[in-house]
Symmetry: C2
DNA sequence: TTTTTGTCATAGGTTTAAATTATTAATCTG
DNA sequence: CAGATTAATAATTTAAACCTATGACAAAAA
């Protein structure tokens, strides 16, 4: 049992339009017999007559009349598929599904979006903000196209591109402003507030603090840098935040911010994507665009 | 330049569903290379990548994700075409576009529709009421499937089937009830009211009246039998109407109805359709159904 | 009527497209 | 590194679609 093909529908449409097999065949750039055979086959598939062949004129049957607009709609749908493909190629990508970790997103995203929109007015940007481990899964599954995270990720399936390094700064209560900046050794003596488990920034901060440590830290983990800073402002302890977050987060809090002496704590922020992603080269371009330097 | 085919879309859908070329190929009952080639061709046509082939898993690209629902919609539309064809075949015809002349329609239509609906609950009946000449044109053009008119029509392209004969009766003012029924010769002396030009019934009535005649008849033509009877009731003249119309039209008028002595005037009502109409045999069945005897 | 014309269907042979099997290439997994 | 998994490529076969030529039929013209 053969199936309906678009060829059948295209030929049908031509005959319906011209009401003449010969003219329709010409319009389709094929011979009249070829068209006749195809129409006949379509009628056989449908088990119905579509055209009434008179000796001197051809017309649609009742069923053919109902059939025509649907056939036309299908053909139009197919044309639209092609248009869609063409449209999606102008500009860098068309749609970009990008993931960013929470300790970067609020500070970098406005800038990224602005830059992408400027160079690429029709782009459709979809952002996903969650923990690195989730982003890695979603990237692997093809649910997002790229992710901006702290490097290294060391997944062999991913390409990693560094975007920039960022320093961590110390946030203390306003009252501590005059005190000297502690080095990493002295930090262990202070009450250090951290993000919840799962945030890479938590681990990065901890690793700087020379604490081997999870030493009796009661449940004071915060779910965002913003909360962390507010807690510091309330005098509960001190914390580290990325330099990039300073402007936004310490605006309205009664806290003192200070840089560490060398060796300063840092992390590398980068972009990752599947090596197999066909957009690879374009993603490289996007990385260049985002990179501030 | 090759074009998109439904095969492309069917294969695409399978791969999108299974996210695995081998399994998709199995689902399509073809070999994996055949499917790979077709998908590749589709991607070439669209000038875009639809799938991201990893070494161990396959996923849709961003564009593929947008492409999928449209492809699915098209395939569904095609399936519906087939359903439509199947549905249209149950019952006698599915849709019947029928034309009837005005001097028959009001009296016969209710009966016809009742009968058709009873034997054929899902039928879609479309009625066109106009003059014979118009019906013939519309029939020839395929705009209607059949027509009920007075025979003969004598179009070689049409099949004619007689339905029944109907007599014409004389309608006189109530005051004339006691007078003897005039024969056709005496009719010429009376003021005979007729339908407008174009109605076949006008010609049929005239031809009975032995008038060779269009003799100075002022513009008193009516546009319906109903009007004609009302005019008679008002004492303007006399008229002929088909027997079938008596019950409906003389109900509320102050007129006297009488049959003619032999030879009585009659006409044959019949059904016509294009010989080339594929529904021919079914239309014969419908004629049998309509025929009162 | 007979002939001619217009129009679609059928037939046989050729070309093009699609499928098959077999093989290769690449990349994970153990 | 060896074995397994998965998709791509190659060569060949099979099937579909098309073309030219011809036939059938009905309408129009002679």
């Amino acid at each position: 049992m053969t199936k309906i093909t678009l060829k059948h529908l295209r030929y049908f449409e031509a005959v319906a339009l011209h009401r003449h097999f010969g003219h329709a065949a010409e319009a389709c750039a094929i011979s009249q017999p070829a068209l006749s055979v195809q129409i006949k086959e379509l009628e056989q598939i449908l088990q119905t007559t579509l055209f009434e062949r008179g000796a001197r004129n051809t017309s649609l049957t009742g069923f053919g009349t109902e059939f025509a607009p649907r056939a036309r709609a299908i053909l139009q749908g197919v044309d639209e598929l092609q248009d869609m493909a063409r449209a999606s190629k102008q500009g860098i990508v068309g749609r970009l599904r990008i993931g960013i970790i929470p300790t970067i997103a609020p500070y970098l995203l406005p800038d990224i979006i602005t830059k992408l929109m400027r160079t690429n007015p029709d782009i459709d940007i979809q952002v996903r903000e969650t923990l690195t481990s989730h982003l890695i899964n979603e990237l692997a599954d093809g649910r997002i196209d790229a992710a901006i995270v702290a490097l290294p990720v060391s997944e062999p399936a991913f390409t990693e591109v560094a975007l920039f390094d960022e320093k961590f700064v110390l946030v203390r209560p306003e009252a501590d402003r005059a005190k000297p900046t502690p080095d990493r050794a002295r930090l262990t003596e202070m009450k250090l507030l951290l993000l919840e488990e799962g945030h890479c920034f938590r681990d990065q901060a901890l690793s700087f603090c020379a604490t081997q440590s999870d030493k009796a830290r009661e449940g004071l983990d915060a779910s965002s840098l913003s909360t962390l800073v507010q807690m510091v402002g309330a005098g509960i302890g001190v914390t580290l935040i990325p330099e990039m977050a300073v402007a936004v987060e310490t605006q309205s809090a009664r806290v003192a911010v200070s840089s560490f002496p060398e060796p300063q704590p840092t992390r590398t922020v980068g972009m990752i994507w599947r090596k197999t992603n066909p957009l690879s080269t374009k993603l490289l371009g996007i990385a260049d665009l985002i990179r501030p330097a």
